[in-house]
């Protein structure tokens, strides 16, 4: 029984790490622009289709695929900022939200109509997903890597925001954009930096998703982004640490319900997940690591 529980604990950590990676990508953009970028999932999908294209052109070596996927995600993310989000930067928050949803739907439809609505096999990264048997436990190499990369991403992001001039400008912009501009810092540069970071995180998440799924579908990122959004809300939407912690907590809630609920109640898993999330928000309306005063503060 203990072995079984530890095994499920490891699984919950892996679920959480995936949500945390995507939630960080959402939180970075939200912190600067106040935009919940629901098109983040389509950045992941676009990155996957780009990897598929590169592999079709003979560029299918795993390391090359990883690099190209991340580069493609950054390019798509920055392009979306320039084409879709910059024009509505000064519009009300709801306009940005609707724009993000619109971009998400348009991209999904383009993938469906121009490529295929059906799954496209992509086994180039299957080798990353080995199973390590450590004593009685089976640990996926991908789970370990995802957890480590999520932690490293958070540390790197913390270091960047705390020590680099651009990072400090981004933190300042998240508190008072107008003042930052008055001090001579270009708004476009700060916002573009946020989308570069968000895109890089989407690209990294894409690599793990591709390695696990072995295939690409038009909607592969959408449902994950919805979960990442929930993670951000649980953790406190102003906090990067909160986004990551919310992702981990959501992973634990999902795996816990999957394990504990009797099969005949399995259909209630999603509903109960949201009941728990609601209870957390009743207790902490600003999220676990958000604060009323500093809602929007991105410091760890």
């Amino acid at each position: 029984m203990t072995e079984y529980l530890i095994q499920q604990l490891l699984n919950a950590l892996a679920f959480g790490a995936e949500y945390a990676l995507i939630a960080l990508g959402l939180a970075v953009v939200f912190s600067i622009m106040g935009l919940v970028n629901f098109a983040h999932g389509e950045v992941i999908a676009a990155s996957a289709y780009a990897a598929l294209l590169f592999a079709g052109l003979g560029l299918g070596a795993p390391l090359l695929v990883i690099g190209l996927a991340i580069a493609a995600a950054i390019a798509v993310s920055v392009t979306l900022e320039r084409v879709a989000f910059r024009p509505v930067r000064n519009a009300p928050v709801t306009t940005g939200l609707l724009t993000a949803f619109g971009v998400s739907i348009v991209l999904q439809n383009l993938f469906q109509l121009l490529i295929s609505p059906r799954p496209q096999a992509f086994p180039a990264l299957n080798g990353l997903n080995a199973t390590w048997h450590i004593g009685p436990w089976a640990v996926s190499s991908l789970q370990v890597m995802e957890l480590v990369v999520a932690l490293l991403a958070m540390l790197a992001l913390g270091g960047f925001l705390g020590r680099s001039s651009l990072g400090i400008a981004m933190r300042a912009a998240s508190r008072d954009f107008a003042t930052v501009r008055l001090m001579g810092i270009q708004a476009n540069r700060v916002v573009a930096a946020a989308f570069v970071i968000s895109g890089a995180l989407a690209g990294i998440a894409c690599v793990f998703i591709l390695a696990r799924r072995g295939g690409v579908t038009p909607d592969m990122g959408f449902s994950l982004v919805l979960k990442a959004f929930v993670a951000c809300v649980i953790g406190g939407f102003g906090s990067l640490f909160g986004a990551a912690a919310g992702g981990m907590l959501l992973g634990f809630i999902e795996v816990g319900l999957l394990v504990l609920l009797p099969q005949e109640m399995g259909g209630l898993k999603e509903a109960l997940t949201y009941v728990i999330v609601t209870l957390i928000l009743v207790y902490r309306p600003e999220g676990l690591f958000g604060s009323r005063r500093d809602l929007g503060d991105k410091e760890f």
Partner: protein
């Protein structure tokens, strides 16, 4: 290709005598999910290809296909279907689920048109009992029963069922119908586990399977790719060497590419609507369509082609494009020609076809037909 011509157009041509009198077009309205969640199951390209082929052959009424995107929204599909009916469609179809098909069947009653859902397998429409409804695929309990026969024959004795409420009875009840048939044959259902459609990590369920005693020698699931491919790979990576048994959701060309390992594929069995990837009649049809520029992909396109071919043959048999006459001819004794089976009959069940259910396995990474027959025992689902 040659086989298809023999069985499809060949049979149709033998019914062509009364067709000389047909002057009006045969209008088929497809409220199709070209985008949205159900887009992977669209039958449009196969239907277009078959209509093109039949029109080129010049026998019987000219087929006019009317196609509009529903965006996978049931309410929009009803609006589009109404538009098709207003334009005189004798046959219409919508999203292959009851929330779309029931209202379409209701509005189609006024014109006498038939609602012909090529990929529909869910029993709800059959239980609802609309006189003007026809499904192109066998109901899920029949699929589950046929797959149980093949799985038992392959040596499975102790199966765990993976179930989800996300895709209605197809993902929730089909495993149960499989289980009932499996137990009827002498096998045991040792457990039931939950999952969600869209699962990309099966580690929690696999940990539960590993903790079961006695260990199951087979897993049964009705789900979609790429979820299934991930499950198969993760089960294998965790030392599970039993069978992974599935339904028509497995029948996608990406299955082999997602799993990749031939030894792992050898442990996969699934029931479907017609054998693809085995070099048979359906593959010939799909290859011919691709050569003509149609973006066909797999079994759902073949079901779409069935719908057009059968409707056209029924119109020729009836000698009329009157919608009620066409439906009577669709349900006539002896059935009509199909792509997924040589003959598809509705004479026995009215709304669900009687045809063989192929169960597919793998040898050396290639698909093989393990059995192709009507199952001897089907659980009572009505």
């Amino acid at each position: 290709m040659k086989t298809m011509k023999r069985t499809g157009l060949g049979v149709a041509m033998t019914l062509a005598l009364p067709a000389a009198a047909i002057a009006d077009d045969l209008r088929i309205g497809i409220a199709a999910s070209l985008t949205g969640a159900y887009a992977p199951y669209a039958e449009v390209e196969g239907a277009r290809c078959m209509a093109d082929r039949l029109n080129a052959a010049g026998q019987g009424p000219k087929i006019e296909l009317m196609i509009e995107d529903t965006r996978s929204e049931p309410q929009l599909s009803v609006t589009i279907a109404q538009k098709f009916l207003d334009r005189g469609a004798q046959v219409v179809t919508g999203i292959p689920f009851p929330d779309s098909l029931i209202p379409i069947a209701q509005i189609a009653e006024a014109t006498g048109a038939t609602v012909f859902s090529a990929p529909n397998t869910q029993v709800e429409m059959q239980i609802a009992g609309f006189e003007n409804f026809i499904a192109g695929a066998v109901p899920d309990p029949v699929n589950g029963a046929a797959t149980a026969e093949a799985a038992y024959a392959a040596g499975a004795r102790n199966v765990v069922l993976l179930k989800s409420a996300d895709a209605g009875s197809w993902s929730e009840m089909l495993p149960e119908w499989f289980g009932q048939s499996f137990e009827h044959l002498g096998g045991t259902v040792s457990g039931r586990l939950s999952h969600s459609i869209g699962t990309s990590d099966w580690s929690p369920q696999i940990a539960q399977i590993r903790a079961m005693s006695p260990a199951p020698d087979a897993v049964m699931i009705s789900s979609v790719l790429p979820d299934i491919g991930i499950l198969i790979r993760q089960l294998r990576a965790n030392g599970f060497n039993g069978l992974v048994i599935g339904s028509d959701g497995f029948d996608d060309p990406s299955l082999e590419g997602t799993v990749t390992d031939p030894a792992t594929l050898e442990q996969v069995i699934f029931g479907t609507h017609g054998p693809t990837g085995t070099g048979g009649r359906i593959d010939d049809f799909l290859a011919d369509c691709r050569s003509k520029g149609f973006a066909v992909q797999g079994i759902f396109d073949a079901l779409g082609a069935d719908m057009v071919l059968q409707t056209h043959a029924a119109a020729m048999r009836a000698g009329s494009v009157d919608p009620v006459a066409i439906r009577q001819a669709l349900r006539a004794e002896g059935g009509n020609p199909g792509i997924t089976a040589e003959v598809i009959s509705y004479a026995e069940n009215g709304g669900a076809p009687v045809k063989t259910v192929p169960v597919i396995g793998f040898r050396n990474g290639k698909r093989v037909v393990l059995q192709d027959r009507v199952p001897a025992f089907v659980p009572d689902w009505r």
